[in-house]
């Protein structure tokens, strides 16, 4: 097991290096630079600025310097918000995004799995159709539409929940709902189809023939086998939800890190682009690693380490 983890960690570092390299050169191949906007800066000022951020050096030198700083976990200062470093921005934004993300994930996973199980057990019944209608709506209605609708109805018309901002648990309800519906729908549909498949398996019939109760059959025998596909999508889903979403955070004025992804690209804020990408990739790679571990836990047939002698 430890051998496997070490091997995976090494592979993760290599993956991350690929991502950094690719992002770095892609980013620099976009036309424009942080300093040529409509604002007229004199040429001398521009040159000084470029010198300060080492933008006048050849690309490979910049790349080398960047790699060095990444190894020391220093993503450098933001070019556009000169008083802040990228580390500070992520340090401030990520906890907020993470808080919203984790609550959203819990809501989405539990309600999605529950909905999926109910739909599967009532296959082709009214409850199944109802659950799947909700799921299809959840997937097809964009979350910004849902968010504005929720604000309009629950915050403006009924005034039972705050419109926006991020200060108390009550403030969390609307953004969580808006953000969780999509993933919940995906998880519900996956759980349903995979549950339906598992329920026709012979071992479920064996369990019934043993006289087990429906509850035991569903939760002990069926669910564990049905969860593998759900766990698969959960990895990338979790990474993107935990690192914040631009739209939802914008609508609800939540000071998360979602906005940095978008803003940094528009303003060619090179260190921030790199910082957010590396950060997101790291989380994603870690989540995929967790998914692989979860496979091994859920299904004993999946061996994470090589068998001795094979």
């Amino acid at each position: 097991m430890t051998g496997y983890i070490i091997k995976r960690l090494f592979a993760m570092i290599v993956t991350l290096w690929f991502i950094i390299t690719l992002t770095f050169f892609l980013m620099h191949s976009i036309p424009g630079s942080p300093f040529n906007e409509e604002r007229n800066t004199s040429e001398a000022v521009q040159r000084n600025l470029e010198k300060f951020y080492h933008l006048d050096e050849p690309l490979y030198v910049q790349y080398g310097m960047y790699l060095k700083s990444v190894v020391t976990f220093d993503f450098g200062p933001s070019i556009k918000k000169s008083s802040q470093t990228v580390n500070e921005m992520l340090g401030r934004g990520f906890p907020v995004s993470f808080e919203l993300g984790i609550v959203t994930l819990i809501v989405a996973v539990f309600s999605g799995i529950a909905l999926g199980i109910i739909a599967a057990l009532r296959h082709n019944g009214i409850i199944d159709y109802l659950a799947m209608t909700i799921a299809v709506l959840g997937i097809s209605v964009p979350n910004f539409v849902l968010a504005t609708l929720l604000i309009q109805q629950l915050a403006v018309n009924l005034t039972i929940l705050p419109v926006a901002t991020w200060s108390s648990p009550k403030h969390m309800i609307l953004p969580t709902l808006a953000l969780a519906t999509g993933p919940m729908a995906i998880i519900a549909r996956l759980t349903r189809s995979s549950m339906l498949e598992v329920l026709t398996q012979d071992y479920i019939k064996t369990a019934k023939a043993k006289g087990l109760s429906p509850v035991k059959i569903v939760f002990k025998h069926a669910l564990r086998n049905a969860l593998l596909p759900v766990v698969t999508v959960l990895g990338s889903l979790a990474a993107s939800i935990l690192t914040g979403t631009f739209v939802i955070e914008k609508i609800f004025a939540i000071p998360g890190m979602g906005k940095y992804f978008v803003e940094s690209i528009n303003t060619r804020d090179y260190p921030v682009i790199m910082g957010t990408t590396v950060f997101y990739s790291t989380i994603l790679i870690m989540m995929l690693f967790l998914v692989d571990i979860a496979y091994g836990v859920l299904d004993p047939r999946i061996k994470l380490h090589k068998k001795e002698g094979s």
Partner: protein
């Protein structure tokens, strides 16, 4: 001998988009204590549906027990509530399915899968349930059971898995064991071992076994009595010797003729021509008439009465009808 299980005029139908499929059409038989009854027939004749209906395991909907009774020690199982039926399954009547590769849950240790069955039906501690499991694994011939208890199904071979499935079915000491094609998925040497195991366990525990198969070799090896099913009906039944040496229904004869024989060339294999009738609208007469070399006009029109040839041996065929015998006597 005491009757453990009595199936009386059982009808099972499946509702599909195309209409009602009458899969089992009035099947009756008894299972005596400690005997082995084999139900034989080709695919789709309703033998599996019959066995699953006894356990009330047919998926419902679309399946439905449309009539008849299944008496277990005098109690009609078709009338029980689902929760009462759960107390019967696994404890009084157990079932083994065809494919041991898929009959065990791949994510649960085999020990746990056996123990949970015991805990479901008996008020004993986990420790005692574990002890019982070990004894049972030993009985079915799993070497080193203490160690093997912690293993998952994929760590066993097919034959070993079938032994585990048998252990699982027998651990609560049921009175009836229904084995649905228990050896079909196994290779021949393992088949023989498993059939020996059945006989051995029956001797030790006195369990009544109902074995569903299309393999006449298996039947010859284990059955005390045989019931031949065709198109949802039992067309001939009797003791093993009677069916093998004195088959009377043309279908039974056809089945026996179609068994490959070592002393003949492969070219001499005699199949039964034609195919079974459509069970959406089964024929009014004998369902085998269309494939039968000896069919008469009456066969097409009226389903034959049951004719008793001996105490156990009976057949549904006009050729054996007593009136035919009388007619024959009249001519002579």
């Amino acid at each position: 001998m005491e009757k453990v299980l009595e199936v009386k005029d059982l009808h099972v139908t499946f509702t599909t988009y195309g209409g009602e499929v009458k899969a089992v059409r009035g099947v009756s038989f008894d299972l005596l204590k400690g005997e082995t009854l084999a139900i034989v027939g080709e695919s789709g004749c309703g033998k599996s549906v019959t066995s699953q209906s006894i356990m009330r395991l047919i998926p419902s909907p679309p399946g439905r027990i449309a009539g008849g009774a299944v008496l277990f020690k005098g109690q009609d199982l078709t009338k029980l509530k689902e929760s009462e039926m759960r107390n019967v399954r696994g404890a009084d009547i157990s079932m083994i399915f065809q494919d041991p590769m898929t009959a065990l849950n791949p994510t649960i240790t085999i020990g746990e899968q056996i123990i949970e069955g015991i805990m479901q039906h008996e008020m004993i501690s986990r420790q005692d349930a574990r002890k019982k499991t070990l004894e049972m694994l030993d009985l079915v011939g799993i070497p080193n059971p203490v160690e093997r208890l912690k293993h998952y199904p994929h760590q066993f071979s097919g034959g070993m898995r079938q032994r585990i499935v048998i252990a699982m079915a027998l651990v609560c000491e049921p009175e009836v064991l229904i084995a649905d094609e228990p050896t079909t998925a196994l290779d021949v040497t393992i088949q023989a071992q498993i059939l020996d195991l059945f006989k051995d366990i029956q001797r030790k525990t006195g369990v009544s076994i109902m074995i569903i198969t299309h393999d006449l070799g298996v039947v010859a090896q284990v059955a005390d009595r045989i019931a031949v099913m065709y198109a949802g009906k039992i067309v001939e039944a009797g003791e093993r010797r009677e069916i093998f040496y004195n088959p009377q229904h043309p279908y039974t004869k056809g089945l026996l003729n179609s068994v490959p024989r070592l002393d003949l060339d492969g070219a001499d294999l005699v199949p039964i021509g034609g195919s079974p009738p459509d069970l959406f609208s089964p024929p009014a007469g004998c369902p085998f008439a269309a494939r039968c070399d000896f069919a008469m006009e009456v066969c097409d029109r009226v389903y034959p009465y049951k004719t008793h040839l001996s105490r156990e041996h009976h057949v549904d065929c006009w050729l054996q009808d007593e009136r035919a015998q009388k007619m024959l006597a009249g001519i002579k």
